[in-house]
Subunit: 433 residues, 2 copies
């Protein structure tokens, strides 16, 4: 019988494993809770109405449709029975494997304050993105009709917690939405007056970048009008405010770009994990004591060349996926020598609003317009398929030429309610606070 | 003080009124429950994963951003106080008017069987469309994993009730999705075997068209593989079946394209209405006894030239909107002569799957590929803005060149749940039935 490989998770890491196993004499079961692969690096553009969901997500089935040996399964994994070598699904089914690859990713985390999750919106899924989009657009709608100046101010205050790439990109894009796209459309409020506050516990923004690029990013954000609060840890989030240091800032919109917590992969296996729940894998990305189980991407922690842990970014997950596929193929060919994973950092990119970005290629460091064009080209290049590339390019063209953002739709999202025909009312028609 | 006009509803009719009042010395309040104008004629393409929501919907504010005299209000209207001349909003506010235009549309109706609504999905809003899209895609996913042949057959049976343009277009597109787009992606089922059943109580499909075109549509649908059941009224809908005539057909997906019911505009005014709840307006589209209140579009019924009621289609709503704007401008100019509305039918179009359509221009009747190209050109022409036109054209190109449907995303839609971070599980992981 053919070697049975089960890959759980169709993010960058899992997809790479499946891709690189093309031609190998194996049967692959590709399991994900969702039917689509998501291009996470541009998710914030869906959250800010710049791109449509279908431009950064692809049905997993369509990505492997030319691979008869791959069976795609839309299901939720609830555990792993390492003894019986099978993956347990929520519907009670068990999927047997000879080799298992866990690429189950991470979700935003609240440093032990899960109660904040209801107020501080994370950004990991398409639903997260459309929820944030709706909340941002509704805040402007509610502010337009709000007569109480304090409530109006809170509605026009957007807080982003965490100044990593996602936080910086959200802050920049929301500011542009308010300054460039919306002003002419409202009669009672000046959307350009909206406050965008970026709160970071650390000493600088984009801490993963060299100081000079962090400084440039900080200057650019402030020039753009973003209020950057450094060295301030958030101590509370509520429906009406965020508290950091000794400041209690009234706001109706908090976006959480601070912490992440790994998927429960480590718990499934009873394997060692770090404080963020990341599986501590062996140098060859296998799980300690389980050479037949690999783990890649945001759900693992592994040391990079410089001793620092490999960063939780798409290129790292892809490299890990490639490495795992290579080991599996080597084993199938009867080779068994140890193959430690070696991460090579190709560079870090972050966009800081329109026509501004920073790129760190190690020796070469770029910033400003040139970096922004490279950032755009790189992201379009890494999208899947010419339709998405063309479509995203067109949207960006319209945004930059006309400040039009095509996806400014407030949809209730509550499909159940809709299919029951109850007409969804935007919260705006209720009182605020 | 300037003449105050309140327009309720930003569909084709309401939008046309606001557009045509450009330059008039009036102040306009433009109220809608949603933040977007929807291009209804292509909504079925969102429901069948052909187009993205942002390609057929535009923020109302952006459509009137260059009209300082227009104030857009996102709110739900709950009634009209004709005595005090004000529109009542759900949040308790009242919006005063000198002239009121009601363009509040219609919603699907179930011939007094509201209990069917939970099982027979209507198609009026973006949420309706994404719900149907999710249900169709999930049915295939569930069938792929279903071991019980009867349950599998029910999952692969798609029933459309009502063979008007929407029903015919849905039936054709779902068939193509199953035959052309999905087959290579599934391993356990042959999606091409999916049954698409179109049930019509009347004697023919596209009853609004001349016999010869109806016959052509019927032949085309059957050639495509659609099972068309004519002269059969649906007598029951449940979660697992639809009953028509003496047949009880097991199915997990019922799409309702049969009846519509007008918005409660007539109830708000205590005005006479027909059985479908449509306001019976005067020949000049005013409400009997209320020359200061106009009503247009799907929420009214008015006689056309041939004595037959004006059809509930976009061009008719637009013509009514133009007429109302003209009367308002005439009155502002001090002219008061009666101006009865005269509907001129420019033609009827319906697509029957790829490269097949019927067009009735009265004397000229077209069918087949030429009609299909005209149908496509006309719809792209009527979209708003070159971005949407370009984007839709690209998507159609990919569909027809490669059978790719870009928007095949199963999103839970339950944004509240998502923002609470609970991870949405696709129903597939539960048992079926």
């Amino acid at each position: 019988m053919q070697h049975r490989i089960v890959v759980v998770g169709a993010g960058f890491g899992g997809l790479e494993v499946v891709k690189d196993l093309a031609g190998a004499p194996v049967s692959i079961t590709f399991i994900d809770r969702r039917n689509h692969h998501l291009f996470q690096p541009l998710l914030y553009q869906v959250a800010t109405a710049s791109l449509a969901t279908s431009e950064i997500a692809w049905p997993i089935r369509s990505l492997v449709s030319d691979r008869p040996e791959v069976t795609t399964v839309l299901a939720t994994v609830t555990g792993v029975d390492a003894g019986r070598r099978s993956v347990l699904l929520q519907d009670g089914q068990a999927v047997p494997y000879d080799t298992l690859v866990l690429a189950t990713g991470a979700r935003h985390a609240y440093f032990g304050h899960d109660e904040w999750e209801a107020f501080a919106l994370g950004l990991k899924t398409l639903e997260d993105a459309t929820t944030i989009r709706r909340r941002i657009l509704l805040a402007f709608e509610q502010a337009e009709r709000e007569t109480d100046p304090l409530r109006q101010a809170a509605l026009l205050t957007f807080v982003i917690v965490g100044a990593g790439p996602t936080g910086v990109e959200m802050a920049g894009t929301i500011t542009e939405l308010a300054r460039d796209t919306l002003p002419r459309e409202f009669r009672n409020i000046d959307t350009a007056r909206a406050r965008v506050v970026l709160i970071e516990a650390g000493a600088r923004v984009l801490a993963g970048f060299p100081d000079e690029l962090s400084d440039y990013a900080l200057r650019s954000l402030r020039k753009l009008g973003v209020e950057v609060e450094l060295g301030r840890a958030v101590s509370d989030c509520t429906a009406d405010s965020v508290t950091y240091g000794d400041v209690r800032l009234p706001t109706k919109t908090i976006i959480w770009a601070a912490g992440v917590r790994a998927s429960p992969a480590a718990e499934w296996l009873g394997a060692p994990a770090d404080r963020a729940g990341r599986l501590e894998v062996m140098p060859d990305l296998t799980v300690p004591g389980h050479p037949e189980i690999f783990a890649v991407g945001d759900t693992v922690t592994v040391a990079g060349p410089n001793g620092k842990p490999v960063p939780g970014i798409a290129p790292a997950a892809k490299q890990e996926g490639k490495h795992v596929a290579a080991i599996i193929k080597a084993r199938l060919a009867g080779k068994v020598e140890a193959m430690p994973f070696r991460y090579s950092h190709q560079g870090s990119l972050a966009q800081i609003g329109k026509r501004r970005a920073v790129i760190d290629f190690g020796r070469i460091r770029l910033r400003g317009a040139l970096a922004w064009w490279l950032w755009g080209a790189a992201h379009i290049y890494f999208l899947i398929g010419s339709r998405a590339r063309l479509s995203v390019a067109i949207n960006w063209l319209w945004i930059h030429a006309r400040n039009q953002r095509s996806a400014r739709l407030i949809t209730q999202g509550d499909a159940a309610e809709q299919s029951l025909g109850r007409q969804a009312e935007p919260p705006v028609s209720g009182r605020i606070g």
